[in-house]
Each structure stands twice: as structure tokens, then as C-alpha cells.
Symmetry: D2
Subunit: 106 residues, 4 copies
């Protein structure tokens, strides 16, 4: 299960660092949720489909940013911070499998 | 502004068709909104980042499906149903610009 | 088989238009071929993998451009220029299936 | 500059490993080069644009595979094998920047 809290225990600055990142991440996800609700409203108001598509593209770009942030976090903390080489290899495999899934989009 | 309702006026089956599609679209967007909320909860519970990333990939795939559905709708109704050739050319340009934006994601 | 030459017969300016586009397309593809050969050389010279990856990204972007150009061509000529509505619907379906494949990359 | 040969010096099996990977990589790139030449021929023969697009998608999928292989190699050898933590952090940043570029395609 390896919670984010443990992953980040290896971080140099325990007072800030993760909690700030977590707040930022939550903020970004809440904004994305709001964007999706905005798209629902656009469809409800029967707005022009090209405008709806532009908003979908914006949500996808925002999700890409969140995904890249999480990958970066994972690479810096879980992979580099792993206890030994075997663990680090396993974490790297997991990271790359995730990159592959995201490139093909889910 | 060309609302979806007008776009779909040219459709063969006015009784169903668009309203069903609109309901489906709303349903899909509500599910996506729920998925994003689920990701917020995962972050809140400090779940493993690779699992969060897998869920982000699932949302991206769901958004791709919605986008492709809207593009298809636009191509079949707005483009094909456009009044004259000039209008059809303009709608096709808009469609292709949207495809280009979605390929690069927003 | 529907060769490009026929597709473009409906075009307004028969003297130029397609042949120029075809030349441009050939030129772009030859440049992409050259870029791929350049990547082979980089691997042969054991260049840094991040630099090789940057070049692969450049080839992907160039291929995206070619694909978008072909989609645009298809939308403007094959779809709009199709003889009747049934044909136009079929061509639009083909176009959208191609967009879906390219979004997921092959 | 850090050539691939040095990166792979840390590998467990120096006799094989990299050289096999390099050969495989060269083989894949040569096949991709051949695929691009095939697309040029298709355009030359004025083949149907949807078929050309399908081939472009296939080349992009093949390039994605090569890119993921190189990223994996970089993550396992350059990042994990880096001498100290500072170096490992720098290599991880480089890796993630490359992932970000590839996600947005060049």
C-alpha cells in the first residue's frame, strides 16, 4: 500500500514539502472537477460542440500536468528513496509501466 | 453560436437521436466528474501514487471517448448538414483545428 | 482503392493544388526518413539517450503534422466532395475511425 | 555526453546486455525507416489517404515503443546507476522532462 506519507518520509524538509504538494494537488484536482462540471453545464445549455471540445482539451492538459507531477514525485521519492537496489529496480519498473499507460491514455 | 439543438435539426429521426445522445453525454460527464472526485479522495487518503496515476489514465481515456463522440457528432451533423459548400469548408476547418488541439491535448 | 488523384478531381484549381500538396507531402516524408536515419546514427555513436528521445519526439511531432494534413485533405476532399449523403456519411465514419486510431497512436 | 556504453558499464552482465539491446534498437529503427519509406511509396502510388494514415499510426506506435524502451533503459541504468544522490536527482529531472516532451509529442 505504501502511503504517500511514508514515501515522503525520506524528504529533506519534513515541515513543508509533502503537505504543500498534497494541498496543491488537491487544489488542482478540485479545479479539474469544477472544469468537468462546467462542461456538463455547457452540454446542458447546448453550447457549440467545438467550444465543448476545447474545454475537454483543457481538462486533459490539466490532468497531464497532475500526472507528470505525480510521476515526478514518484521518481524522486519512491524510486530514488527506495531502500535497496532490488526495491529501486521494482519501483522503476512500476514507474515505466505507468508512463506507458499514460502515453496510450489509460 | 449554433446550439446543438439546431445542428441536430437536420437529423433523420427528430423524436430521438439528439436528446438520447445528450443524456448519454451528460451521463458520461457525470461519471467522469465522479472519477475525478474519487482521485481527490485517493490523494486525501494518501494512496499509492501509481494507483492514482492509473485512475488519471482512466479519466483521460473516458475524456477521449467523449471528445471522439463530440467530434463524430460535429462531423456528421454540423459539417455534413451545413447549408452550402462555403459553410461546409468552414466547419471542416474548425473540426480539424479541434482534432489538432486534442492530439496535442489542449 | 480511390486514389488521391480522383479525390482531388473535385478541387477548384486543377492546375496546382494536389500535385503541390503531394510534393510537399513527399518532401515531409523524406525529411522524416532522414530524421529516423539520424536517430539510427545517434544510437550507433552511442549518444546520450535523452538526446535520442528528444529526436524521437521531433519525429513524432513531424508525423502528427503529416497525419493532420492528410486528415484535413480527406475531410475537405473525400468527405465534402463525396457524391451523395450516404457516401459522405461513410467517408465521415472512416475519417473519425482514423482520428480515433491516431489519438491512441496506431 | 555520457555515452550509452558508460551508462551500461554498471550492468550485471557486461558480455551481453547492452550490445544486444543496441542491436535490437538498431533493428527497430531500421524497420521504422522502412515503414516511412513504405508510406512515401503509398503517397507516390496515390493510395487512399485513410490507408496512409493507418500506416502513420503504426509508425508512431513503433516509435512510442522505442521511446519507452529508451526511457526504461535510462531509468534503470543512468538514474539508478548514478554515483550519488545529487547526480541521481539531476538524472531523474532529465528523465521526467523527457517524459513530458514525449507526452506532448515533441
Amino acid at each position: 500500500m505504501l502511503p504517500l506519507a511514508i514515501m515522503h518520509a525520506a524528504q529533506a524538509t519534513p515541515t513543508r514539502g509533502y503537505s504543500a504538494t498534497k494541498d496543491q494537488l488537491q487544489g488542482r484536482l478540485r479545479r479539474i472537477e469544477g472544469q468537468v462540471r462546467g462542461i456538463e453545464r455547457m452540454v446542458d445549455e447546448e453550447r457549440y460542440c467545438i467550444d465543448v471540445l476545447t474545454q475537454i482539451g483543457a481538462v486533459q492538459a490539466a490532468l497531464d500536468k497532475v500526472a507528470l507531477g505525480l510521476l515526478d514525485d514518484h521518481a524522486h521519492h519512491c524510486v530514488i528513496g527506495a531502500e535497496d537496489l532490488t526495491e529501486r529496480e521494482a519501483k522503476t519498473d512500476e514507474l515505466m509501466a505507468s508512463v506507458a499507460r499514460l502515453m496510450r491514455r489509460g
